[in-house]
Assembly symmetry: C2
DNA sequence: CTGAAAGCGCTAACAT
DNA sequence: ATGTTAGCGCTTTCAG
């Protein structure tokens, strides 16, 4: 009644119910053509035997695993996991599971994980690329596997992508600061070889030009990893210069955190009172970032939703509009408690 | 040379290389008994054909998927994902992949995901349980699948578990505050039906008794979810009482955040200057929690490491010591910048 | 409505 | 050292 390895199979059920395995398979797949009577009996036996369908065998036969592979540079990245969570909410009810793998910020590792996922016959793949290289996504095996890039697009690579409209976010920040009366706005960001760092720098330069504000090279700081240490270093360097601006746009949450912590513990009250930030990312600890007047909140939930929907569409064989490049507008937050002032969000026409 | 669905199989390779499928399988599995010559030829053909091993077929045959199933109440939980990341670092090199699923904090959903993972033939399962119920983990199918509980243990359930030693952490916090001179210490925590909330409350009561400090019911606050709103509410309630203590132990990061934000924006400088916190969790934004003198940092990396090692052991058929209950001691952080003072950590004997 | 049978791609005896 | 063959558990024609 049970195979030597412990679990009952379709065969055991068939035998026990006095039907053929085909019939058992039919009830498993909710086929119409089974008498309510036999269905009942089969279901009954399954219950008794504690039968569990073997999805692996099914996958082999039908050539699809109902599995989506996911690769990210870091699993502990809050942004990415919120996106994954949103995806799960719409994919799981459709029967999909998600295999998750970390590229550990290395293209080499990304290639390796890609290979693993291909061998596991994932039906689709979602990746937040580790670097700017993307030839490994052109492999023959991937020709039949829908692939969606998240957060970053790799130039020259023809695949679907979903990302935050970084430039839009920066524009609004500059606009907000200008509306509040600031003419001189510094930039604190990371090395432009990083995709988001570059996008935000470009957005800054664009916006400053558009609003006719002066870009002062001395206060456009863009070196290093986008972490707390860099945030602290760059801010202290800027404030070390004579006649520095009071307003700064900061390119991400970690740098913002570093800059704020530095300011709070090392600056004279007078300097502190004048300092104003606008920055990317709005996280749980936003209430503690007291120097921040405006922030850009990435639409994580919506990104997840878009990715999942697009994936479902591709999985269904619909190649319409390929490759689609979805750009989602972030939410703009105004920190009234810190002195931010409501402003009229500039209407921007998408490219 | 290629099957109708696009990808080459072992059969295609065999044919093209002029050998049998068995030989191809042998080179795939690094069998010794293949001439360097034929191996070379087979490898060559694989390359040419862009062959990828079909892990699904392999799994069906060998009855193991090299897959670990993971269920957590929330995927965006930083703590859990850091653990998962650490696990991945040791499991991936051994050929394991991880299927991740969210129970969305619901036992019902947890059951459903459990079933999915069983049907997918995961080799092992790691779960951070959603509730206190655990009968669904007693299902027959799970008898042959190693299961490890993380962060919480379900009473009466005989399974391996790995968790933070919450009581140890609280003890050290109370000890630290006492060493600094505080005799009266309030408690701000969540509803004790939540596992961690209860453990930390119990730890607090234990420690207060042990140090001969008075437990004042008025200042033992333990209602609501462990989030920012509750942190704020409970602190404001405590401070609203006459003759309140200046020192508080706060049971987790969210409540700590809420309490700090509230204090900074609503309290008179005089009150603020006296207020001191010791709390659980030490995250990226710790530099901003200026009222905190001491914190407990959960050993996430080590938890992940322990879980992975234990899993590997069970997967290898080693049932030694089952069920193992690993308790990991958290790290104690002293915030010198905020006024915390180094103290001699109390040596505690494990139960 | 139900059963018989072929076969998904691979591994692992068992032969040779 | 290599080939033959029998399945792993399931789905799916094709008959009846």
């Amino acid at each position: 009644m049970v195979d030597s390895h412990g679990s009952a199979t379709i065969k055991d059920v068939a035998q026990s119910a006095g039907v053929s395995i085909a019939t058992v398979s039919r009830v498993l797949n909710h086929s119409e053509s089974v008498t309510a009577d036999t269905r009942q009996r089969v279901l009954q036996v399954m219950e008794e035997l504690g039968y569990n369908r073997n999805e692996v065998a099914r996958s082999l036969k039908v050539r699809q695993t109902r599995t989506i592979g996911i690769i990210a540079p870091e699993l502990s990245n809050v942004f990415f996991m919120e996106v994954v969570e949103a995806m799960e909410r719409i994919l799981a009810p459709k029967g999909y599971s998600m295999i998750i793998a970390s590229s550990n910020d290395s293209v080499r590792e990304e290639k390796r994980k890609l290979q693993v996922l291909i061998e596991r016959n994932v039906d689709g793949m979602v990746v937040m690329p580790a670097g700017a290289e993307g030839e490994h996504f052109l492999t023959k095996a991937l020709a039949n596997i829908p692939l969606i890039m998240v957060d970053r697009r790799i130039k020259g690579l023809e695949v679907d992508s979903v990302e935050t409209d970084n430039r839009y976010g920066v524009h609004q920040m500059i606009h907000a600061l200008k509306s509040e009366g600031f003419e001189r706005i510094g930039f604190i960001g990371g090395d432009p070889t990083i995709h988001t760092a570059r996008e935000r720098l470009l957005g800054y330069l664009e916006a400053m030009a558009e609003y006719g504000l002066p870009v002062e090279e001395r206060f456009v700081l863009k070196k290093g990893a986008m972490n707390q240490g860099t945030g602290k270093d760059l801010l202290s360097r800027a404030l070390g210069e004579h006649d520095h601006p009071d307003a700064f746009f900061i390119a991400n949450d970690s740098m913002h955190l570093g800059a704020t912590a530095y300011a709070m513990e090392s600056l004279a009250q007078e300097t502190l009172d004048r300092l104003v930030f606008a920055s990317f990312d709005y996280l749980s600890y936003a209430p503690l970032l007291k120097l921040c007047h405006y922030a850009v909140a990435q639409p994580l939930e919506r990104i997840g939703h878009e990715v999942a929907s697009l994936m479902l569409k591709r999985l269904g064989g619909d190649r319409l509009g390929f490759p689609e490049h979805v750009m989602l507008r972030p939410d703009i937050k105004v920190m009234l408690a810190n002195g931010g002032r409501p402003f009229e969000q500039k209407v921007m026409v998408a490219d």
